[in-house]
């Protein structure tokens, strides 16, 4: 579905992505890695939010480089950005109506069934929600676009453990809707429970890719690439 080939992104002198290659198909893929390794930049590059200097991004056989973000979104890519980025002045209901497509598989009713908390808060503004509610809203907003691929940038960041469990359940259900998932996570548990394949990103490159089960079982790998102490998080 998504094919990234030798992708480079530079911000002035800084060489952020140094030749990333990655492919996402039917099965969810997770990218893990420490802070500052270029994970968010990769998400933004796929969405067209930052300019790429070399390499290619193809989605469904179509080249995305240089396409404006709104066209990429219309081709079926949705991004749940890091830090949620809900609109402070729109209510929950307005957020959903902004993107909802009548009659689509994910519609407003289904969102309210899946996230009952959002239904209770439908009249509240985006700035009046808790972190977990904002995250649910950001995910719901992406799902309502009924994308072919949903990219999630650190969805579990700052969430209470019980909310994280809910999040995992929602994300595990997405492939059943025929949605591809590219999940960027620092939380190893979320990454490995949602995705069967895990790629590890180090200084702007994919340093290793492996089945999730192998990373979970190998603490030496975890220590080397992620700096996680024994026992993980």
């Amino acid at each position: 579905m998504l094919e990234v080939r030798d992708l480079h992104v530079r911000f002035g002198q800084a060489h952020i992505l140094q030749g990333v290659s990655l492919s996402v198909g039917e099965r969810p893929v997770a990218i893990v890695g420490r802070n500052g390794m270029g994970k968010t930049t990769l998400c933004q590059a796929v969405m067209g939010l930052v300019a790429t200097s070399e390499g290619g991004i193809a989605f469904g056989g179509r080249r995305l480089n240089g396409m404006p973000p709104y066209r990429i979104a219309r081709r079926g890519v949705a991004l749940v950005p890091q830090g949620r980025r809900t609109f402070p002045s729109l209510s929950v209901d307005e957020h959903l109506r902004l993107v909802a497509v009548p009659g689509a598989s994910w519609n407003i009713e289904r969102v309210y069934r899946t996230f009952p908390r959002l239904a209770e808060r439908r009249r509240n503004g985006g700035a009046e929600l808790s972190g977990g509610e904002q995250q649910m809203l950001a995910i719901a907003r992406a799902l309502l676009m009924n994308p072919k691929l949903v990219i999630m940038d650190e969805p579990s960041e700052g969430l209470a453990p019980v909310i994280v469990d809910q999040l995992i359940a929602v994300l595990r259900g997405l492939p059943a809707d025929g949605m591809g998932v590219l999940l960027v996570e620092q939380n190893l548990r979320v990454a490995t429970e949602v995705a069967e394949d895990v790629a590890i990103m180090v200084t702007g490159r994919i340093a290793a890719a492996m089945p999730a089960a192998r990373l979970v079982g190998d603490q030496e790998l975890q220590r080397r690439y992620l700096g996680v102490a024994a026992g993980g998080r």
Binding site: R97, L98, M145
Partner: protein
């Protein structure tokens, strides 16, 4: 919308409709007529133009200084094509055709302003819209063949519909009021549609709106087109009100006046435009008698300063604060 808001809006609408009959009960007939025509009628007409700016500022976050110029484009189109205008430049069209043509021209000019200023925001948007306004103003002022230059075009008396003449103070007042109410309701409706939500999303975070699949440029330009239509309605009414149009109307003075009305009324809600234009018109009319004939601008400046200092969100902000104070004291 809360039912109480609806009740209040209906009550104020009824009160405004009945004013031409209510005012003569409390003041001499001549004075009542003066208030209806020179204060309220004028305030409504300028309020419409100011509302086109408030619409852009409140929901899109775009401060455009071109709205008076866009209104002028409608007024000049009307004056150029309407039969009976002096001097006759094109003429030949009845008001039934010339007015829609004026509105069309203003909408097109609004779209053009939006397209030209598409990539600018904040102070740069302000400067580019000001530059466009001044460019059109100078072009009209110096062009004799099409716009009769400095003197402008006179005798745009307005239509007479079903035996009701626009020169009649009460007819004009009610037409202006009806137009303002329709545009106001239209805006309130529009901002709840997906288009309006996208606009508010752009104000909060344009990059996010783009990532959701909406072209920011297209929606911005369309918003300027809508604002152009609104300003055009105000421009047509003001041209008929003044029985003509001259370049002075759309000069720097007029441009700044519209900005002042919007700001003292408050940029938080479209109704602020009308509150601001009423305050402005009252002071503009009476400042010479209250203060000093040569220094009435000083008084308007002081009022502007006072409102902006007391309440950065204008007269609506004062109202909101008073209500909160009352609610707090009741507890």
């Amino acid at each position: 919308m809360h039912s109480r808001t609806v009740t209040w809006s209906l009550l104020s609408a009824l009160l405004l409709l009945a004013l031409p009959w209510l005012l003569p009960q409390v003041m001499p007939a001549g004075q009542a007529q003066f208030w209806i025509a020179n204060i309220l009628g004028r305030a409504i007409v300028f309020g419409i133009i100011a509302m086109s700016l408030t619409f852009l500022a409140t929901y899109g976050g775009f401060i455009s200084l071109a709205q008076m110029m866009v209104a002028g484009v409608a007024g000049y189109t009307l004056a150029v094509f309407a039969e009976g205008a002096v001097p006759r430049i094109v003429g030949g069209l009845g008001y039934g055709a010339a007015i829609p043509l004026g509105l069309l021209a203003a909408t097109a000019m609004g779209l053009l302003v939006g397209a030209i200023s598409m990539r600018t925001r904040d102070i740069y948007l302000l400067m580019i819209t000001l530059a466009l306004a001044m460019g059109v103003f100078r072009f009209i002022e110096t062009n004799i063949a099409w716009f009769n230059g400095y003197e402008g075009i006179r005798n745009v008396v307005g239509p007479s519909v079903l035996g009701m003449d626009f020169r009649n103070t009460f007819v004009f007042y009610h037409v202006a009021l009806g137009t303002a109410a329709l545009l106001y309701i239209g805006i309130i409706y529009l901002v709840r549609t997906p288009f309006g939500l996208v606009l508010q999303g752009i104000r909060d975070n344009p990059r996010r709106v783009a990532a959701l699949g909406y072209s920011v440029a297209l929606h911005r330009t369309a918003a300027f087109g809508v604002a152009g239509f609104i300003a055009g309605c105000g421009g047509v009414l003001s041209t008929i009100y003044n029985i003509g149009i001259s370049p002075g109307t759309i000069g720097l003075g007029g441009t700044v006046n519209v900005l002042i009305m919007s700001v003292i009324g408050g940029l938080g809600h479209p109704i602020g435009a009308f509150i601001g234009s009423l305050i402005f018109t009252v002071f503009d009319t009476f400042a010479a008698t209250i203060y000093d004939r040569d220094r009435f601008n000083t008084l308007i400046g002081l009022v502007f300063l006072a409102i902006v200092l007391v309440s950065p969100d204008g007269a609506i902000g004062i109202g909101v604060r008073l209500r909160r104070l009352l609610a707090a004291s009741r507890r």
